[in-house]
């Protein structure tokens, strides 16, 4: 059954190998730096934008990002995935990643980007960024560009969204509607205090319908709510999982026990990191943090070698992905309500080398609210088990027990491990820089309640949201 909410707030991860040529990579770095500087000027909200003039390389950011991506992109980043922590005798090539949290089918999304990019001046920028990738066709090649992008897109093994199913246009519309209501209440509170909740709600609806300043056409259409399609899918998934467990539990019991035995042996012999670097002493990482409501994290780590951990890793991510689709759809993931978007992607090692030299890497992208410390701290406080289940399969993770125990409970060691393996994101853009996940979900609820009649018992709950 058609479920429109499946086509909003999705994950696109394009990863392409860079040419092994220092000069091109340096050029790419400086292009990304220019974009970053330009965005930082924007991102530090009320600061004056710094002029960007760098040897004729000025990027017209107003075209590059807001113009190209604003309507259907929530967040995006460019990251050069290097291999600084990898073994010197087994280095992997540099990879450029474009992480985008977007609406619509990836094919349509890319075509939209392409269409907007074909306006004069705009094309060059994407080309300049990906130009250093092997086999990149210029945007001018049209369909071939879209195909190349899709060929290089990686599936998110697990993807979570704090407002899954709500397109960017509706996030923005909800924000505008709420702002119009705020202004209305400031101006009319005195006259509203003598009215009943129903009357207040009616007044607000009437005001919104009077085309007040601050609204755009179509703003009174709130985001579609999850309907029957979602519910059916949710229960079908649950039933399927339940049936699989019932049917397979007994036949697979010996296998499960064997798996567990191997796991415990591996856990005993794993070698956790013993790094002692300063968690907050990493200039390139902290210099760009804490500028707007959100921060970002790009985290890269090798999956422990061998099939056992690789298999376990994929099963855990599959489980999280399913939970994120059907269970954690109300703005919180295991009690954490500060994640806009998060995804785990595996960078498979497709080199033609013997299997024990093969290095599959797990990369984690997150767009979250507030500080690094509070974000990682929330993981430890509220979701240490889930976190440990994912990352205990990767190299250097603090010692674990039974896949989910210990590990992230050791807050200091966990944060150390996480920070050590964080890589700098050269460009990061937030399309909602004033709003936390809680703010956005509140706006959405305000929006939905503002354009329809509410039951008397729902009114007080709606009114305290304003």
């Amino acid at each position: 059954m058609f479920d429109p909410t499946r086509y909003a707030s999705r994950a696109l991860t394009i990863a392409a190998e860079l040419v092994a040529d220092d000069e091109s990579v340096d050029r790419l770095r400086s292009v990304l730096q220019v974009i970053h500087d330009d965005l930082t000027g924007n991102n530090t909200s009320k600061q004056k934008q710094r002029p960007v003039v760098r040897e004729g390389q000025a990027v017209r950011n107003d075209i590059f990002l807001p113009g190209l991506l604003a309507d259907d992109t929530h967040f995006m980043r460019f990251v050069i995935v290097d291999d600084k922590l990898g073994p010197a005798d087994n280095q992997l090539p540099l990879v450029l990643v474009w992480e985008s949290n977007h609406d619509g089918d990836p094919d349509d999304y890319l075509r939209n980007v392409l269409a907007r990019a074909s306006q004069p001046d705009a094309v060059l920028d994407f080309d300049r960024v990906f130009g250093a990738c092997i086999g990149y066709p210029a945007m001018a090649s049209g369909d071939a560009w879209v195909e190349w992008m899709l060929e290089h897109s990686l599936r998110a093994e697990a993807f979570y969204s704090g407002y899954r199913g709500v397109p960017k246009t509706k996030v923005k519309a909800a924000g505008r509607v709420h702002e119009v209501i705020r202004t209305y209440l400031d101006e009319h509170r005195l006259s509203l205090t003598t009215r009943t909740p129903i009357e207040v709600h009616d007044e607000i609806r009437r005001h919104l319908e009077s085309t007040p300043a601050g609204l755009e056409p179509g703003d009174l259409e709130p985001a579609v709510e999850r309907g029957l399609g979602f519910t059916l899918r949710k229960w079908a998934t649950l039933v399927l999982i339940g049936a699989a467990v019932l049917l397979l539990a007994l036949p697979l019991l010996p296998l499960t026990l064997a798996w567990y035995a191997v796991l415990r042996r591996r856990e005993a012999s794993d070698k956790p990191d013993t790094s002692n670097r300063a968690v907050h002493g990493m200039p390139d990482l902290i210099a760009v943090e804490d500028r707007i409501v959100q921060n970002q994290l790009t985290h890269l780590v090798d999956i422990k070698p061998g099939y056992f951990r690789y298999f376990t890793q994929r099963v855990v991510l599959l489980a999280i992905d399913q939970l994120a689709r059907i269970w954690f759809v109300h703005g919180e993931l295991g009690g954490i309500s500060s994640i806009h978007f998060a995804r785990w992607v595996i960078l498979h090692d497709r080199r033609d080398v013997e299997s024990k030299r093969r290095r599959h890497r797990l990369i984690f992208f997150s767009n979250y609210d507030f500080s690094w410390d509070s974000y990682l701290g929330e993981f430890v406080d509220r979701a240490a088990g889930g976190l440990t289940a994912v990352w205990s399969n990767t190299v250097g993770y603090p010692r674990t027990k039974n896949l989910i125990h210990d590990g992230a409970d050791d807050e200091e060691t966990f944060k150390q491990w996480a920070r050590d393996r964080q890589i700098a994101s050269q460009v990061w853009w937030s399309g909602v820089r004033y709003s936390s996940v809680d703010n956005i979900n509140n706006d959405i609820a305000v929006h939905r309640g503002a354009v329809r009649a509410l039951e008397p018992e729902d009114l007080p709950r709606w009114l305290v949201r304003l």
Partner: protein, 561 residues
């Protein structure tokens, strides 16, 4: 780092440890020693001279386990008093602590307060800060950032060069002056340099805006004779939250700077154990501006309905109090708006009741706004998730406050009366009328000639203690108090102590009130309307620093090598 089994390390204080811990952990001396001076010094460059100075100071330090000196030496005799000492990492290095061990101190302790400006919401020059971080080799000098927060004409202090902080406590103003002078003379005698002496006003158990302070403080597990009121379970935290060397609320033993086991002389010695980190901040408070703003808002909102059968009081002064109590989360008398939602109550609640409240009954902040100062600083059972989870999280971010007020003090009621009566009255005229005169005390004859403390400004000499500054002060400041999105609020940081520039919502029925600046600056071209209508800033940082408060054993190590 050696791996220790956290289970083997206690999270409860043992009586035997007390002799190792500076008394400040358990005593604020608010009643016994009402006058204090925080003296900042540069120790001599010669490590031998620095150690000799510390040897002299050592005998005066008060320890939690006693016996400590009851008297402090001053010119020509002795007076009752208390002394505590804390060091910057630079100071520890100058005292000859192995640089390798100094490097093992936490990053933020070495970086100092100014490099954490963005985290703390302090004014910061971004480019300068970035360059500064890029070039950091040693994180031990508090390099100043080019901002005006240390403007000396406004009482700002520059602690860039500071090595040590002496916390001096006395029963009278005269004694305080004598103790301060004696310590200044002492450091000079060893060719060190006394810097600022930050003098408190007499402690009246109120912060300068006039609100009762120190109502909610955590107690440490195993703490001896904490207070007369037994602290609740949720207010009693693992020793490792406030002291190094103990298990904390994560069930872990945080890293502590210690010698390698193989060190020839100090093998395995834990420099951090029984020590704590101290944050000092001089916070100027615009007391007149605060009440002037609330007086105007009181007039505007007087009589507005806020709940079934309840309104903001019609009397403008009472209305100002009502609104200020919403911003603060408690009334000036210290009663929470949870316990006394609509009026302050006849009198301050008794000690066993005043802190015995939770926010569970008020998830939307109708009695105590979610964004109010005290609810942010200690969200209790309402930090998200089930109550027990919320408490668990909150217990991981508690700090122990040991601050003192400075400058002239006001009676808020007198201030309000004056402000409401004369709309255009100047700050100076109000100050002359409404400041509380420092009443002379027995043995305080010298107060008239002292002329030592600042009587033109007011504020807080904020001091707090915690085992980790990132988990403690910085977290509370950044994630709770200054966070414009705290717990779902939208673009509204703490109104009382935050950066200003935002409006402030007070949940009410049928719809919320929202405070904006009653005296907005005239609109400038291309100025944001939100910025123009944002509330003023009432608290301005005027300098500060991060310090380490060592144990007796560590002081002995510094002195005796």
């Amino acid at each position: 780092m050696s791996s220790i089994d956290p289970e083997a390390v206690p999270d409860t204080l043992d009586g035997a440890d007390l002799a190792q811990i500076q008394a400040l952990l358990f005593r604020g001396w608010a009643r016994k020693f009402r006058w204090s001076s925080f003296l900042f010094v540069e120790v001599p460059d010669d490590p031998d001279a620095a150690r000799a100075w510390l040897r002299d100071v050592r005998g005066d330090i008060a320890w939690a386990g006693g016996p400590g000196p009851e008297q402090l030496a001053v010119a020509g005799g002795q007076v009752p008093g208390r002394l505590q000492v804390a060091f910057t990492t630079k100071g520890l290095r100058k005292l000859g602590l192995d640089p390798q061990i100094v490097q093992r101190f936490p990053f933020e302790a070495k970086a100092g307060m100014e490099r954490r400006a963005r985290v703390l919401g302090d004014p910061v020059d971004d480019q300068r800060a970035a360059d500064d971080l890029e070039s950091l080799e040693q994180f031990e000098t508090n390099k100043p950032t080019p901002t005006d927060w240390k403007d000396q004409t406004r009482g700002g202090i520059d602690l860039s060069a500071c090595d040590a902080m002496l916390l001096l406590y006395a029963t009278t103003r005269k004694d305080r002056q004598a103790i301060d002078l004696a310590q200044r003379a002492l450091i000079k005698r060893f060719r060190g340099r006394p810097m600022a002496s930050e003098l408190s006003s007499r402690w009246l158990e109120r912060e300068p805006f006039g609100f009762a302070d120190g109502v909610s403080q955590p107690a440490i597990k195993g703490q001896p004779d904490a207070t007369t009121v037994p602290p609740s379970v949720n207010n009693t935290i693992a020793a490792g939250e406030l002291l190094l060397g103990y298990r904390n609320e994560y069930g872990q033993v945080p890293k502590s700077p210690q010698f390698d086991v193989g060190h020839p002389k100090h093998g395995g010695f834990d420099v951090g154990k029984n020590g704590t980190f101290l944050v000092f901040r001089k916070l100027e408070q615009d007391v007149i501006g605060f009440w002037r703003t609330f007086a105007k808002l009181g007039k505007r909102f007087a009589g507005q309905r806020v709940a079934e059968g309840h309104s903001v009081p019609t009397d403008p002064a009472a209305a100002a109090h009502w609104l200020a109590a919403r911003a603060m989360g408690r009334w000036t008398n210290g009663n929470s708006t949870m316990s006394c939602p609509f009026a302050p109550g006849e009198q301050r609640l008794p000690p066993e009741q005043i802190n015995a409240f939770t926010y569970g009954a008020d998830p939307h902040g109708l009695a105590c706004p979610i964004g109010s100062h005290v609810r942010r600083a200690n969200p209790r059972d309402q930090r998200g998730g089930p109550e027990s989870e919320s408490w668990k999280v909150v217990r991981r971010h508690r700090i122990l406050r040991r601050g003192r007020a400075y400058g002239r003090l006001f009676d808020p009621d007198q201030l309000l009366r004056k402000l409401l009566a004369e709309d255009t009255i100047t700050d100076d005229a109000i100050a002359a009328h409404a400041a509380i005169a420092s009443e002379p005390e027995a043995g305080d004859e010298a107060s008239a000639e002292a002329g030592d403390d600042d009587q033109t400004r007011s504020g807080l000499l904020f001091v707090c203690l915690q085992a980790s500054i990132t988990h403690g002060f910085e977290f509370v400041q950044q994630i709770w108090n200054n966070n414009p999105g705290f717990h779902g609020v939208f673009q509204e940081p703490d109104l009382v102590a935050g950066p200003g520039g935002s409006r402030f919502s007070i949940p009410a029925e049928p719809v919320r009130l929202r405070l904006d600046n009653p005296s907005p600056v005239p609109a400038a071209p291309d100025q944001d309307e939100d910025e123009r209508l944002g509330m003023p800033r009432f608290v301005i940082p005027r300098g500060g620093g991060y310090f380490f408060v060592p144990s007796r054993a560590t002081i002995d190590l510094l002195v005796d090598g």
